[in-house]
């Protein structure tokens, strides 16, 4: 009997073709997503092999030049709506409904409001982030981190929430407020507002 399973494996030199043959379209997650852009290609190396050379510097500059700042010059939206964006992990998975807004899933990797104990640790804690103030430099820096983190830290694990259209401009403004608004839960003391006691 002939084995008629998955195509026989003559292990291919061509990684891309092996990867393409191993996946199938699933809802909104189509095979197109397997194509790498130059940044993804560059960052597909083991951690200790990621060298900072001219190519890396050029890529970083390219990402920095491509950042789109808010058209109306206003960086800060509604921190409470931002809190909801930060808490939601849905969006862009094969089983997610594309007609519903994506989340930012910030808590998957970052500590934010100190009242939320279910936070991840892949990224740094951002609790009290607002202590840094709201200078123009801080606004532009924070926006750039959210829009495309690789503009500063090439091959960071963090998604490019603006550049890849994961979040809308308004959602990004709301997350900005969640981080920077002094009233935001991110910027409250760990034991909650002192008036509570």
């Amino acid at each position: 009997m002939v084995w008629i399973g998955v195509a026989p494996v003559a292990v291919s030199e061509d990684l891309a073709s092996v990867i393409h043959a191993s996946f199938s379209d699933s809802g909104q997650a189509t095979l197109m997503r397997l194509e790498q852009d130059p940044l993804q290609q560059r960052c597909s190396q083991p951690r200790d092999e990621r060298v900072d050379d001219d190519t890396a510097m050029a890529l970083r500059q390219e990402r920095l030049n491509a950042v789109v700042f808010p058209k109306d010059g206003n960086f800060l939206g509604d921190w409470q709506r931002g809190a909801a964006v930060a808490a939601s992990g849905r969006g862009l998975q094969s089983n997610d409904d594309p007609s519903i807004a994506n989340g930012g899933n910030c808590y998957a990797c970052h500590q934010l409001a100190p009242t939320e104990v279910a936070y991840g640790t892949l990224g740094p804690s951002l609790t009290q982030y607002g202590l840094r103030g709201q200078s123009e430099a801080m606004l532009r820096y924070t926006w750039t981190k959210l829009w495309d983190t690789h503009a500063f830290n090439l091959c960071s694990h963090m998604p490019r929430f603006g550049a890849q259209k994961i979040l809308t401009e308004q959602q990004l403004k709301d997350v900005m407020a969640f981080l920077l608004d002094p009233n935001s839960s991110v910027n409250q003391p760990a034991e909650g507002p002192s008036s509570a006691h």
């Binding site: 199938s24 699933s26 997503r33 083991p46 279910a118």
Partner: protein, 276 residues
């Protein structure tokens, strides 16, 4: 094809789970920071509901099925015809009869096709149960076979060039970033002592951690009431990576299992595990 006793078994499983779930609800607030599932595992002790699935798997192994009305007892899992003890711990491995490296799941399908005359495509179309289902035959067989390797050393073959090539490919895929979120396996699994929300993440590039992780699959998932296999685990990782659907038995699936198994070599098989 489910047997009459399944309803009774399911009811028993359900009843058995209830008091333990209540325990979990009670410990969550107290242990909300981390390690609650470790604590829960301790509470469960040796009571892993996977024991029922192990029994089922052994029954499937000796059950005549398919057009050939044959059992799987003549299946060669790499250690000779019908040898099940210790076989799981040496997967993935190269098989001369198919001239390819196979994981245990695709090897079982090969035996179902060649020995029992069953249609591989039909089984491959739904290898894993959906939430709320009973487990599948494949899940039960894999669970039993993992139990047949419990306590043994993880020792995947790397003698054949195709086995070594499969490892090298697995390593490349592990670091391959793609999709709208730029995620690779490495995004979550190349660092130690990290977690997503409260879920601890094993560093799969580090021997001790990958041995513990790899050696504990298949595992009973308490949140789903089902045993899940490593093949399923990979599919669900890619879903969360926002990639398209990983095809069952695909080269990427086998390459990543090879990458993990070889990194874990020398560790101990503890499966079936018990997970959140």
């Amino acid at each position: 094809m489910r047997r009459q006793s399944d309803d009774a078994m399911t009811l028993y499983r359900f009843v058995m789970m209830i008091p333990r779930w209540w325990l979990l609800l009670m410990v969550v607030p107290a242990l909300a920071d981390e390690g609650i599932f470790d604590q829960y595992r301790d509470l469960m002790g040796d009571d892993n509901p996977a024991i029922f699935v192990i029994e089922e798997g052994e029954e499937f192994w000796v059950q005549s099925q398919g057009p050939s009305a044959a059992t799987l007892e003549a299946c060669d899992l790499g250690l000779g015809t019908g040898v099940t003890r210790g076989a799981y711990a040496q997967f993935p491995r190269y098989f001369a009869d198919t001239d390819r490296v196979m994981d245990i799941e695709t090897r079982l399908l090969y035996c179902m096709e060649t020995l029992q005359g069953r249609d591989r495509e039909v089984i491959a179309a739904k290898p894993y149960s959906l939430r709320g289902d009973f487990g599948t035959e494949l899940e039960a067989l894999v669970t039993w076979l993992a139990a047949e390797s419990e306590g043994m050393t993880i020792a995947p073959e790397q003698a054949h060039p195709k086995e070594r090539a499969m490892y090298a490919m697995g390593e490349e895929i592990f670091f391959y970033r793609a999709g709208p979120h730029d995620f690779s396996c490495a995004t979550c699994h190349e660092q130690s002592n990290k977690r997503i929300r409260l879920q601890q993440l094993p560093n799969l590039t580090e021997h001790t951690e990958v041995a513990e992780a790899y050696g504990s699959w298949p595992a009973y998932r308490m949140s789903q009431g089902l045993v899940r296999t490593m093949g399923w685990r990979l599919q669900d990782c890619f879903r969360q990576q926002r990639w398209p659907g990983l095809i069952f038995g695909s080269e990427v699936s086998i390459a990543l299992q090879t990458y993990m198994a070889v990194n874990a070599a020398g560790g101990v098989m503890t499966a079936p595990g018990l997970k959140r």
